[in-house]
C-alpha cells in the first residue's frame, strides 16, 4: 500500500477519534459544557494525538530501518565469489535492488505471473527480455545467487510493507480506542494535551543536540576507519600530499594545513584593519546620514552567498592579480593563488569584523569617553588609548570568530586558491586548503572504502575541531567581556 494512503488512513482514524472524543465528553456531561474539566476541544485533540502521533512515529522509524534490515538479510545470500573483479559488495547490492525493481515492474505490467517468476533461472533467455522490457539493463552475466537475492529482496520488501500497514493501522486504532475510553467529564484533557505538546517542544529542541551528535559520530567513525587503513603518524607528520587512486598515496595534512592558514592569514590581514577602522569610523565619527547609508551597505556584503565571491575571485580578481602583479614581478603565472583567495575572503570578512566590533565599541560606556575628553584628549586619542583597550577582549573575540569563518570557508578557496598541495611562501602561487581537498576527495565516483576517500573525513574532523576551539574561545572571551560593563 502506498505510504501516502497509509498516512491518510491514520489521519482519518484520528479525525474520527477527534469527533468521537468530543462527543463522548459532551454526552458524559449531560450536554452541559460547564461540567467538563477542560474546554471541549481538548478532549477531541487528546484522542487525535494518541491516534496519530505514535502511529506516524512508528511509520517513520520503520521506513528508516527497513531497508537496512532487509539488506543485511539479503546481503548474507551473496557469496564473495559473486562479487566480480574490481567490483564491491555495495555495487552488487545495488544490482540486486535494480533487479528487484525490474521484476516488480514486469509483474505490474502483466508480462509474467508470480508463479512463473519463482521458476525462472538465471540463465533463462526469457528473463533477459523481461527485464529489458521493464527498462532494467543487465550488466555482466547474471549470477544465480544475485537473482535469488533479488527474489528474496522482493518478497521481504512485500512482506515488510504488509506488516507495516497492519502495524501502523493497529497502533492508530489502539491509541484512539484507549484514549477514548479514558474520556469522561473529570478527565484532565488539557493537562494531558499540554504535556504532550511540551514533550514535542523538548523533542524539537533536541534536534540541535542530535545534529551535533550526528556530526561527531559520522566524522569519528569514518576517521577511525581511515586510521585503520592509513597510519596516523603519516597523516599528522608527513609533509607531502599526493593521493594515488591505485594505492600507495602520501596523505600528509601539513601542506593543506599550511595553505589553509596562509589563506586565512592573508584574509585576516586585509579584513581586520579595514573592518575595525570601518567600525570605529561609523560609531565615533560618521554623521547620522552617512551611518544610515553605509552600515546596511557594508552588511549587504555579509548577505552575498560565498559562491558569488568564488566567481568574483575566479573571473575578476584572479586574472587581475596575475596580469598586474604576479607576472610583472615574476612571482607566478597562476590566476588561482593564495593572494586571490585571501583578498576575496578578506572582502567577505569585512562586514563580519565590522559589525561585531561595532556592537562591542558601542557597548563601551559613554562615561569613559567623556572622562577622556575632559582631560583634553582628542577623539583619536580617546579611541586609541581608551576605547580600544576597553573593547579589546571583545574585538579579539570577533577576530577569532572571523578566523574560524576563514578556516571553514569552502567555495572561495575551491574557486580561487587552486588545487596544488605545496608548502611555499610565495603568495602568488596556487596552494590548496583542507576544505578544497574535502570537496575534491568526496565528489565524483570514488570507491568509498579507500583511504583516499576516507581521508576527507579525517580532514573534516580536523576542520571541525579547529573551528570548534576557535568558536568556544571566542564565545568565552566575548561573554567575559560583556559581563564587565553590564
Amino acid at each position: 500500500m502506498n505510504i501516502a494512503v497509509l498516512v491518510l488512513i491514520v489521519l482519518a482514524i484520528s479525525a474520527a477519534g477527534y469527533v468521537l472524543g468530543r462527543h463522548r465528553a459532551l454526552s458524559g456531561a449531560q450536554g452541559d459544557r460547564r461540567n467538563l474539566h477542560s474546554l471541549i476541544g481538548y478532549y477531541g485533540q487528546t484522542v487525535f494525538l494518541f491516534a496519530s502521533v505514535p502511529a506516524l512515529f512508528l511509520l517513520a522509524v520503520w521506513l528508516f530501518l527497513q531497508p537496512m534490515l532487509i539488506e543485511a538479510r539479503v546481503g548474507a545470500m551473496i557469496q564473495p565469489s559473486d562479487i566480480p573483479e574490481g567490483g564491491s559488495a555495495t555495487l552488487v547490492m545495488s544490482d540486486v535492488r535494480r533487479l528487484a525493481e525490474g521484476l516488480d515492474a514486469a509483474i505490474a505490467s502483466g508480462a509474467v505471473t508470480e508463479e512463473a517468476l519463482a521458476g525462472l533461472q538465471a540463465g533463462d533467455a526469457e528473463l533477459g527480455s523481461l527485464l529489458s522490457d521493464a527498462g532494467v539493463a543487465l550488466g555482466a552475466e547474471l549470477r544465480p545467487n544475485v537473482l535469488e537475492a533479488a527474489k528474496a529482496y522482493r518478497s521481504d520488501s512485500h512482506g515488510a510493507r504488509l506488516a507495516l500497514t497492519a502495524a501502523v493501522i493497529a497502533v492508530s486504532l489502539v491509541g484512539a480506542l484507549l484514549s477514548l475510553l479514558r474520556v469522561s467529564p473529570e478527565y484532565r484533557a488539557r493537562n494531558v494535551f499540554e504535556r504532550f505538546v511540551l514533550a514535542a517542544l523538548i523533542a524539537s529542541s533536541l534536534v540541535a543536540v542530535l545534529t551535533t551528535a550526528g556530526i561527531i559520530a559520522s566524522l569519528l567513525f569514518e576517521s577511525i576507519h581511515f586510521f585503520q587503513l592509513y597510519p596516523a603518524k603519516d597523516f599528522f607528520l608527513s609533509l607531502t600530499w599526493n593521493p594515488q587512486f591505485r594505492g600507495g598515496s602520501d596523505l600528509g595534512i601539513w601542506p593543506l594545513l599550511w595553505g589553509t592558514l596562509y589563506v586565512s592569514f592573508v584574509a585576516l590581514i586585509f579584513a581586520v584593519p579595514v573592518g575595525l577602522l570601518i567600525a570605529i569610523y561609523l560609531s565615533e565619527y560618521a554623521s547620522k546620514r552617512l551611518r544610515t547609508f553605509a552600515k546596511p551597505a557594508i552588511e549587504i556584503l555579509a548577505g552575498i552567498p560565498t559562491i558569488v565571491y568564488g566567481l568574483f575571485a575566479l573571473i575578476t580578481v584572479g586574472p587581475l592579480l596575475r596580469d598586474y602583479f604576479a607576472q610583472p614581478l615574476g612571482l607566478g603565472t597562476s590566476s588561482a593563488s593564495v593572494m586571490t583567495a585571501g583578498l576575496v575572503m578578506g572582502i567577505m570578512l569585512i562586514p563580519f569584523v565590522s559589525s561585531l566590533s561595532d556592537d562591542i565599541i558601542n557597548a563601551v560606556p559613554q562615561s569613559l569617553r567623556d572622562g577622556s575628553f575632559a582631560i583634553g584628549a582628542t577623539q583619536s586619542e580617546t579611541v586609541r588609548q581608551v576605547i580600544l583597550p576597553a573593547a579589546l577582549p571583545g574585538i579579539v573575540g570577533a577576530i577569532l570568530l572571523a578566523a574560524s569563518r576563514a578556516i571553514g570557508e569552502t567555495m572561495i578557496v575551491v574557486m580561487g586558491a587552486g588545487a596544488a598541495a605545496k608548502l611555499d611562501l610565495n603568495p602568488f602561487q596556487a596552494m590548496t586548503t583542507i576544505t578544497v581537498k574535502i570537496v575534491s576527495q568526496l565528489t565524483g565516483d570514488t570507491e568509498f572504502a579507500s583511504p583516499e576517500t576516507l581521508v576527507a573525513f579525517a580532514l573534516g574532523m580536523m576542520l571541525f575541531l579547529f573551528t570548534l576551539v576557535l568558536n568556544v574561545l571566542a564565545l568565552v572571551v566575548v561573554r567575559k567581556y560583556r559581563e564587565q560593563y553590564e
Binding site: 543536540v209 556530526i215 577602522l277 552575498i304 552567498p305 575551491v414 568526496l442 565528489t443 576542520l463
Partner: protein
C-alpha cells in the same frame, strides 16, 4: 613626590597660535579620521566592484543569438513511410534533422547572395548550434503534420557566433580559435544585416535544462531553479515548526540548568560550524547510512534544514523575548494556562519577527553551495524532477551548484552563463530580503 620633580616653568604658549605639539596631535587626529574614511571607502568599493563585475559579465546571458530560417521539412528524410506516426518518426535521429537545417542555411546564404571568399560548407554548417537539430526534432514530433511543409524555424546559433555578437569573440581571437573561423564571423555580420541572425531575450536560460560541455548556448537554469525550490520547500516545512517549537521550549519553558545550557551552547556553536561539515554529515548519515538517493532534493533539503535551524532559532527566540511580560501576565490573569498564553497570545504577536528571521534563514540556505557539492548535486542532470512528493527523490541540480558546475567547464561561454546564474540567484535573494524587510516594517510592533 613626582609633582615636585616636574619642571617649574609652566608651559608657555598662545591660545591663538597653535604650538608644534598641538599641531602634531591635530594632524594625527586628521590622519586617523582619514584612515577610517579610506577603510569605509575600501569596503564600499569592494561591494560596488563585486556587483558590477558579476552584473557586467552576466547580463549578456539573458540575450541569445538565433538564426531565423525558412526550412523545408523534407518528408523523404523525416517520415519515410509517410504515415506521420510519431512513434516511427522517432527513429529519425537529430543527425537527419541537422542535415536539413544545414541545407536550409546554405540555401538562405545563397538566396541572399552572400559571398565570402574561402567560406567552406563546414563553416556554414558550424554556424548552427549542435542543439538546433534537437530543437527542430522536438517541434516536429509534437506536431507531425508539419512534415513536408516549409516552415520558419528559429534555431540557436553556435556559442562562438553568440559570443561574437556579444563582443566575447573577436576577429583576432577567432584566428587562434580552432572552433571558429574569421569567415564565419564575416558571415555572421552579413546574416545580421539580412535579418537572419537575431538576438532576443533568452527565456530558455531561465526555464531550460542544462546542456552538455560543448553547447553553452543551449544551457539553462530550469532544473537548478526547480531543484532549489524543492529544497527550499523542504527546509521551510521542516525548519519552521521544529525551529519555532525549539525556540518556544528554550525561551519559555526550559529550566535554567546544565542540560539546557548545553543545548544553548550547542545551538550557538552549530551556527558557526563550517557549512562543508554539514555536507559530510549528509553524505555519511543520509546517503551512506539511511540509503537516500544521491543528488536528490530531499537530501539537500535535510542538510540545509539542519544548517538553517540554529540560524532561525536565534532570531525566533529574540522575537519571543521581545513580547512584553504584561501580555503574558494579562493572559495568565484571566485564567489561561501557560501553554495557552504562549500559543494564543505570545506566538501570534511574535510572528512577524519569526517570519522575518525565517525568510533570512531561507535566503542563506538558498545561497549555500559547499554542503551540496558533497551530496552529489554536482552531477549533470538534464531531466526535470517530477512533481513533489516523488520529485523530492529525483535527481536535480541546485542554483548555486549550477554556477560552480559551469565555472568548471572549459568553454568561455559558460563563464557568462555562470555570471548570469548568479544574477538570477541574487534577484531571488533580493526579493526574499525585501519581503523580510517589508514584513518587519509593516507588522513588527515596538513595545
Amino acid at each position: 613626590m613626582t609633582d615636585a620633580s616636574l619642571p617649574t616653568t609652566p608651559h608657555r604658549g598662545s591660545l591663538i597660535e597653535v604650538d608644534a605639539r598641538t599641531r602634531r596631535r591635530n594632524a594625527a587626529e586628521k590622519r586617523f579620521r582619514l584612515y577610517g574614511l579610506v577603510a569605509l571607502g575600501i569596503g564600499l568599493a569592494a561591494l560596488v566592484i563585486l556587483l558590477t563585475s558579476v552584473l557586467s559579465n552576466g547580463v549578456s546571458a539573458f540575450r541569445q543569438t538565433s538564426l531565423v530560417l525558412e526550412m523545408n521539412l523534407d518528408a523523404a528524410v523525416l517520415d519515410k513511410k509517410g504515415n506521420r506516426d510519431p512513434e516511427e518518426m522517432k527513429k529519425v535521429t537529430t543527425i537527419g534533422y541537422g542535415k536539413l537545417i544545414d541545407k536550409a542555411l546554405k540555401e538562405a546564404v545563397a538566396a541572399k547572395g552572400i559571398a565570402i571568399e574561402g567560406l567552406t560548407d563546414k563553416d556554414v554548417a558550424n554556424m548552427i548550434s549542435k542543439e538546433a537539430a534537437a530543437q527542430v526534432r522536438e517541434r516536429v514530433l509534437s506536431n507531425p503534420d508539419l512534415v513536408g511543409e516549409t516552415v520558419t524555424v528559429k534555431v540557436l546559433a553556435n556559442g562562438r557566433i553568440d559570443g561574437y555578437l556579444k563582443g566575447r569573440v573577436t576577429m583576432q581571437s577567432a584566428e587562434r580559435d580552432s572552433n571558429v573561423t574569421p569567415n564565419q564571423l564575416r558571415l555572421a555580420d552579413a546574416l545580421m544585416a539580412e535579418g537572419l541572425l537575431v538576438k532576443a531575450f533568452n527565456w530558455d536560460f531561465i526555464t531550460g535544462p542544462d546542456a552538455s560541455e560543448l553547447r553553452p548556448e543551449a544551457s539553462g537554469l530550469g532544473v537548478a531553479i526547480l531543484g532549489s525550490a524543492y529544497m527550499m520547500i523542504i527546509v521551510l516545512i521542516l525548519s519552521l515548526p521544529i525551529g519555532v517549537a525549539a525556540s518556544i521550549y528554550l525561551e519559555e519553558f526550559a529550566p535554567k540548568n546544565r542540560w539546557t545550557d548545553l543545548i544553548e551552547v550547542n545551538i550557538s556553536n552549530l551556527a558557526a560550524v563550517p557549512s562543508i561539515v554539514f555536507g559530510i554529515l549528509g553524505l555519511a548519515i543520509f546517503i551512506n547510512f539511511a540509503g537516500l538517493p544521491q543528488s536528490a532534493p530531499i537530501v539537500g533539503g535535510l542538510v540545509l534544514t539542519l544548517m538553517t535551524l540554529p540560524r532561525i532559532i536565534i532570531p525566533t527566540r529574540a522575537a519571543l523575548g521581545a513580547v512584553p511580560p504584561s501580555i503574558r501576565e494579562a493572559a495568565l490573569g484571566v485564567g489561561a494556562s501557560k501553554m495557552q498564553t504562549i500559543f494564543h497570545h505570545v506566538l501570534p504577536l511574535a510572528m512577524p519577527g519569526i517570519l522575518t528571521g525565517m525568510i533570512i534563514g531561507l535566503a542563506q540556505a538558498l545561497g549555500e553551495t559547499a554542503p551540496l557539492l558533497l551530496i552529489g548535486m554536482v552531477a549533470f542532470v538534464r531531466d526535470f524532477p517530477a512533481a513533489p512528493p516523488e520529485g523530492f527523490f529525483d535527481p536535480a541540480a541546485a542554483l548555486p551548484v549550477q554556477v560552480y558546475n559551469w565555472t568548471q567547464r572549459a568553454d568561455p561561454g559558460f563563464a557568462e552563463r555562470a555570471s548570469g546564474a548568479i544574477i538570477v540567484l541574487l534577484v531571488f535573494l533580493l526579493v526574499m530580503n525585501a519581503v523580510a524587510i517589508l514584513l518587519r516594517n509593516r507588522f513588527e510592533r515596538r513595545w
